[in-house]
Symmetry: C2
Subunit: 419 residues, 2 copies
């Protein structure tokens, strides 16, 4: 019998306890042993959670219990959770967590501490999709060339609805909040931070590269409008918020932002709240993993898979997938050095000479235009919708800075990278 | 250092040896040890394979070598390969194979023999996609409700091209053969047998159910025509060759056949030679795995992932994913008891009274028609394209038998199940 303590019995923790009971038949057949929850820890003992497990409001009831083999951390947050899992590891307990924020900041310290003991975190990226498993074990023969993922269901839901229903950003945000897909403060999801946490975890497994959220390019979907979506449709693109990790010689790009992506790509076909992650390996080519990125039961499915793994065989792989330094020469690419094609929406006053002036500025910054559309906007103004050939992020940023100062430009230009 | 012997250095074996060399940096970083090929076994020592490994034409040079830790079986075939892997296991060597035919017939005997030693077979299903990993480890908390997969790239390529280019079945088969996607004798791929082998492997992991290819419904794509594709398009369907495993109360359906499938489903969006497998778990919902189902390097990627797993931790999970009997009460559903919607193409002489007579026969067999189209065919004949509501396989088969005897019916009706 394997005994589990669950620290945090909220959305995910409740599902974990419930599924361990509901599916005990297949779970014990697969694990080879029975798995039981000895104790769950919460803040508020007064809440009814509809579970028949022992509850406590004292973390020590799990951490100090020698009979508990596996600590399941589902309380969330960064530093307090870090203290909890460190204590668990140092007393020889295996740890399973779904906490992406914890890993975005402390995964290398945890990898060092968990040399001989299992520390698993499948649910931290893309909820129910076993992507950690795939990347760390299934694709281990490959140098990873790129990872490109829809890692945030809230944003993908909003972008899908904006495209299919033609509704505005503000209307769809309200709807997502009403449906429970978006939090009251949606910044973490739609600002790209949630996806960035997940991307950093995947990039560690793929490249062994260390970076924190502060080190990488993170943008959200707040500026996307119906004009951009119409432009995308016209030119065979779809707009998605992607987390991207890409190897380029000895550097790795890590970035989260909205993208125009060819509608024929598999990742472009992923709609609604679903997540999907495409991985290109040098030998296997592209594989893609699709499924629910959140929700109590889907996330608990991944948490329990980790528990079963540990019950079966203890530690079966290094936490981040490597023992020796992995592709040691790789460094994080500076954001300014990223190459991309770009789409720009520039709102200009409708006067003669505007186009000529803009064209000159583009040329000055080494940016060559691929397509341009002019669409009437408010009275006396127009939107210029422009896509460029491949250019350097530094040049685009400098150009945008210059453009937004021009007297005939009415608002900061909106830029979306084209993948 | 882990020493490997490769029995069969053909398409996949050559890629395995080459990648172990090309990607030795990441492979040893991930495995924690160096992995070297000590010996490869072939039939014809005269062929140049462009590899710098020791070759032999004597299987005993691998099987009797005490220094070899892992035997990689890539020779193909069933009984001879079975003897080889049994000998390897009984001398304490771990085994990795890509041989789906071997597993379709002998997986339960192998599971019994490999209780304490690793026997891995990731590459046997869907080539480079780590689907065994996902199903056996990633989804282990779930009762599996269904598995539905495009498991044969040749058939999917042909169906995709027939739809997109409007070419005939015979023309596209020739093209697939010229491109090397189809064998000179394509029966194994387009007749559904290859997919059936893979389906049986997945069904064992999901349900613990034992069946051989002979026990299940296997049909191919040989009868699909442009008329069927046009009908599918008109009603929002795509035609795919699917392997399907589905739990229905205490029974499991296992079947491989062409399907009409709603074009909005993810699995309907998989085109060309690519494979994809959709799995529905009772807790996680749908997850889907997409990638290359064949090819030397893609398949070798999965073979090496297994080698790395074994180098890391020996045996990390039961071969088929369970120790105790898994969902022990489940039995194979008889083909005649399958429920489905059906599509029928019936070529009839163009005379009065035909429809009325057919309608009567449908009614007699309890089959109710959902839509019907009549399309002119050759002079004085017409194709009736009919979709039904849900009906019983037994009834449909009886009805088809009766219909093909009618004097105004010009050929055996074509039937495609609707999923
Ligand atoms: N929800 C998802 O779909 C999802 C998906 C992927 C990953 N995750 C991750 O899973 C983790 C849990 O998410 P959740 O949605 O389940 O969160 P939640 O519903 O807010 O649950 C958090 C639980 O932790 C307890 N808790 C918090 N601080 C505590 C403390 N100091 N001492 C004792 N108990 C404490 C809470 O107790 P009370 O109930 O008494 O307040 C609650 O039971 C987070 O790291 C999240 O990022 C969630
Ligand atoms: N090719 C793919 O894309 C793919 C994908 C998934 C799974 N698989 C599976 O992988 C396995 C290998 O496929 P493959 O395409 O690599 O086959 P292959 O190219 O025909 O290679 C077979 C190899 O085995 C050797 N061999 C056969 N019988 C032998 C014997 N009795 N003694 C010694 N050597 C023997 C052959 O030697 P010679 O070279 O001297 O003839 C050859 O090197 C099969 O089980 C197949 O189903 C293949």
């Amino acid at each position: 019998m394997v005994k589990v303590g669950i620290i945090g019995v909220g959305t995910v923790g409740t599902s974990v306890a419930q599924i361990l009971k509901d599916n005990a038949d297949v779970i014990s057949a697969r694990a080879g042993v029975e798995i039981v929850v000895k104790c769950g820890v919460v803040k508020d003992l007064g809440k009814d959670r509809g579970l028949d497990i022992n509850l406590s409001d004292n973390i020590n009831d799990v951490l100090d219990d020698d009979e508990i083999d596996i600590v399941v951390e589902l309380m969330g947050g960064v530093e307090e959770a870090f203290e909890v899992v460190k204590r668990a590891l140092s007393s020889g307990k295996a740890v399973v967590t779904a906490n992406k924020a914890l890993l975005a900041y402390h995964r290398y310290e945890l990898q060092d501490m968990a040399k001989d003991i299992a520390f698993e975190y499948e649910a931290s990226v893309a909820g129910g999709i076993p992507i950690i498993n795939a990347l760390r074990d299934g694709l281990s023969a490959n140098h990873i060339e790129s990872i490109m993922g829809i890692m945030n269901g809230t944003s993908n839901y909003m972008l899908t609805e904006m495209r299919d229903e033609g509704v505005s950003y503000d209307a769809i945000l309200k709807e997502a909040q009403d449906l429970g897909y978006a939090e009251a403060d949606p910044t973490f999801d739609i600002g790209g931070y949630d996806a960035a946490h997940k991307l950093l975890i995947l990039a560690s497994i793929a490249y062994g590269i260390d970076a924190k959220p502060e080190d990488i390019l993170i943008e959200g979907i707040e500026n996307i409008s119906q004009e951009d979506i119409a432009f995308a449709k016209e030119f065979g693109y779809v707009i998605k918020l992607l987390g991207i990790a890409k190897k380029d010689a000895n550097e790795v790009e890590l970035r989260v932002h909205a993208c125009l992506i060819n509608e024929e790509e598999m990742i472009a076909k992923i709609d609604g709240v679903m997540n999907a992650i495409s991985v290109v390996g040098d030998k296997v080519g592209e594989t893609l993993y699709y499924g629910p990125g959140a929700g109590g039961d889907a996330t608990a499915s991944a948490v329990i898979a980790n528990i079963i793994d540990i019950a079966r065989s203890g530690k079966s792989a290094p936490m981040l997938g490597f023992d020796k330094p992995l592709e040691g020469r790789l460094t994080l690419k500076a954001t300014a050095d990223i190459n991309s094609k770009y789409y720009l929406r520039i709102n200009v006053s409708d006067r003669t000479g505007v186009l000529a002036k803009l064209a000159k500025i583009f040329e000055k910054h080494n940016i060559s235009i691929e397509t341009m559309l002019q669409r009437p906007s408010q009275a006396n103004s127009a939107n210029l919708l422009i896509s460029t050939h491949i250019a350097l992020e530094r040049d685009i940023q400098n150009m945008i800075e210059e453009i937004q100062e021009l007297d005939f430009v009415n608002a900061a230009p909106v830029m979306i990278r084209i993948v």
